[in-house]
Structures are given as C-alpha cells and as structure tokens.
Symmetry: C2
C-alpha cells in the first residue's frame, strides 16, 4: 500500500467554498494533520485519525505528514484558504529536503482569504496587486517596511495577511503610518474579518480613519490603489489606468 500527502486548502470557512477536489481527498484520507482550528473543520469518522497541532510548529507538522505517508498512510495536511499562500505547502517542501524517500505529494488549491474578502467587498483587487504577510516571525521587520514603500510606489493594491497579533501589537500601527505617508489620507482600506463565517464583518474606511484595532488575526486587510473607489456599498478597483 502506498501512502501519499495532499496539502489541501479548506477555503476561508464556508462549506460551499471547499472544492470537490479537496472534499474527495478528505474522503480518502486515513489521517488529517494541521493547526487545531483547521483540523476542527474536518468531520470525524471511523478510520480517520486527526492530528491537530499548535501554531508555529509547521515544520514538525510537515515531518509528521511525510512520516505517516512513508508508513503507507493517506495524509491530508489542511490549511485555511489556499495552502500555497502563507500556509503549509512551503513548509512541506522545506521538510522534504531532509527526507530520504519522497512520497506521492499533491497540493490542492483553495479559495484564499484575500480573494474571498475581495469578493465580499466588491473587486478591490481588480487591477495589479500584491500580497504581503505582515508577521515578522519569519522575516526582518525592515523588509516589510521596504516592501510596503515599494508597493506603494508601484501603485499596487495590497492584501495583508496576519496584520496583527497579541505578540505584535505595534507592528500594524506602524504599517498604517507608513501607508498614510506613502498613499495619502484618502486611500481606501478595507478590513474583512472571518469572511464566509457567522462572524463575518466588513469595514471600509480611508487611511485617515483607519485604526490598528480594526484588525486582528482573523482579519485580512485590503488597501486599494490610487484609483480604487466606492460604488454604493461596494469597493472596486477599475481595470484601466488612463
């Protein structure tokens, strides 16, 4: 019996945003590995072993998945959103480099948070954009600031993952300062929390009105480009630049 690992994106939260491909992998799995709240989204059933683990142990989790697959198990590593966007796919390949036998691996895409948020807000990412992880756990803070300034100069719309945590309360306040300086006070910024779940909350304001407390770790933040505008309750970025 040959094992495999599928790294699967569960989407932002709603069941009807989980792809049939991911659903099928979960139906075939013997083991589900992942961060506690994501594993909790998988329905238990006889014959399915659940392996929830805490945050910040991505490499250990990836090694567990590879080890289970080497023993013939069919393992789904679950990520929220898309596994390739600030999630478990890169961690799996990092773990793989120290691995002698490579099992069968598949990466199964999902609806990533920024695109679920963008859809609820309107179309703020409808022109060129960038995605930046605001956590400095795995990179220097100076690099985050540099990227923000260059992205503003490029007039990208921007999606921010992991804007704020209890461990890093000051970082996002600094991000807002930099953005106000680089993009001006009238630029639109949207806070999309827990999109597609019962806790969903959307809030669009100008940079002048934005406050750090508007974001938490369940929020994805989307900054418009210089042309982003409102159309009624919607926010969108036009396709054209004159």
């Amino acid at each position: 019996m040959s094992g495999w690992v599928a790294v699967a994106g569960l989407g932002p939260g709603a069941e009807d945003l989980v792809t049939p491909e991911v659903r099928a992998a979960l139906a075939e799995a013997t083991d589900v590995v992942g961060y506690i709240p994501y594993v909790a989204r998988v329905a238990p059933r006889p014959g399915l072993a659940l392996h929830p683990s805490d945050n910040r142990v991505e490499l250990e989790r990836a090694r567990l998945a590879l080890d289970l697959a080497a023993r013939g198990r069919r393992v789904v590593v679950v990520s929220s959103g898309d596994p390739g966007v600030f999630a478990m796919a890169s961690a799996l390949f990092e773990a793989l480099e120290g691995c002698e036998n490579t099992p069968d691996i598949r990466i199964l895409p999902g609806i990533t948070a920024m695109l679920a948020a963008s859809a609820r807000l309107g179309a703020p990412l409808g022109h060129d954009f960038c995605a930046i992880n605001l956590s400095d756990n795995l990179k220097p803070w100076a690099l985050i600031e540099k990227r923000l300034r260059l992205a503003a100069e490029a007039d990208f719309a921007m999606a921010f993952y992991n804007p704020r945590s209890k461990a890093r309360p000051e970082g996002f306040a600094r991000v807002l300062e930099i953005l106000r300086e680089a993009c001006g006070p009238d630029r639109l910024i949207s806070f999309a929390r827990a999109v597609s779940t019962p806790d969903e909350a959307l809030n669009t304001v100008t940079l002048a009105e934005a406050r750090p407390e508007m974001a938490d770790m369940r929020t994805v933040v989307i900054l418009g480009n210089s042309a982003t505008r409102r159309a009624g309750a919607w926010v969108y970025t036009p396709r054209s630049v004159p």
Copy 2:
C-alpha cells in the same frame, strides 16, 4: 420576481475545482453571460439562456447582465479563475456606475490561475508576491515596466497574467529582458499552461533559458523570488527570509 447578478469564478478548468457555491448559482440561473469559451463550460439545460460574447467587450457584457437582472432574470456572469482577478467583477462595477437601479449583486470567488498553477508547481508563491497583468490594452506599457522593476527591487515572487498574445508579440520578450537585468540569469521562472485541463503543460527554467515562445494566452507565468528553489520536481519559495 426580483432578479440578481452573480459574477462567478469557474476556476482554471477542471470540474472538481468549481466551488459548490458557484455550482448552486448556476443551477438557479436563468441566464449565463460571458466570454465564449467560459460560457461553453456551462452545461446547457431547458430554461437556461446562454449569452456568449467575444473578448474585449467586458462593459457591454456587464450592461447586458445588469439589464437582464433589472427585468427579473437570475444572471450568472462567468469568469475563468476568480472573477476579481483581471476578470469581470471590476467591469460589472464600472457598468453599475451609470445604472439607475442596482440589482442584487454577489461576487462568487473561484480558484484563480496563479494559485492553481502554484499548486501544480509546488509553492512558488509561498512568500510575499505580486500579480501583474502584462496586457497593455488597459494601461500604459511604461507602467508595466515600472511595476516590474519595483517588484524586483522588493524581491516579490511574481505571477503574470496575459503574458503574450498575437496582438502583442514583443511585450513579453521585453519583460524577460527587464527581469533578467533586475533579477539575474539564475532566477527560476515557471510557465504553467492550461492548468487542470487535458492540455496542461508545466515548464520551469532559469531566466537565462526563458524564451518568449514558452508563453501564450493560456499560460500563467510565475517568477520566483531570490530564494525560490527546486525540491526534486517541485519549485517552492521558503517561508523565511534570514
């Protein structure tokens, strides 16, 4: 009877990458509006009117959808991938601005081409990245060049949509020149064509080896950042920057 418009992402091509949410909207629709090849992906049935239209008529198509909804029809505007990424959602809001009565509108996210491609390749977008539409139909070419240089300076991984068409054969050659100059000859670049369809083809080379003919309008191109590497047949970008 009240009409509505749903702008829905059909994903990159495979049926099992269409979300149940989009599937449900199509099941309730009276009308499907969209670019010819995307409308062709919707199964005909009695009571469903199909309105395929040619490329580059996005605004007319959006107005048709709004007009049908105003007459009480249930309209799905289909996009490939995700409707908010270089697709129909922004066009709908542009058309809405000239519209007196706003119907009920929903944007239904889908698996966008770059994330489907990233999943097949490994995890090349596993760190901060940007998405750039290389078509200069709707923006000045100079802006594309400016964004490429700034994105390279920011060391973003980059996903390129619409890299090359018959109408613009020279642009992508120029893009490769700029990237070679800004990122050096050894940077990895991946060409992912028609991902998740029977025509799928993946090709990863260095910038020194990259040729314009490796891309066409069915290709999404992904450039790694300075840390992007191979792990066996996979390509991934590590999560960390030392």
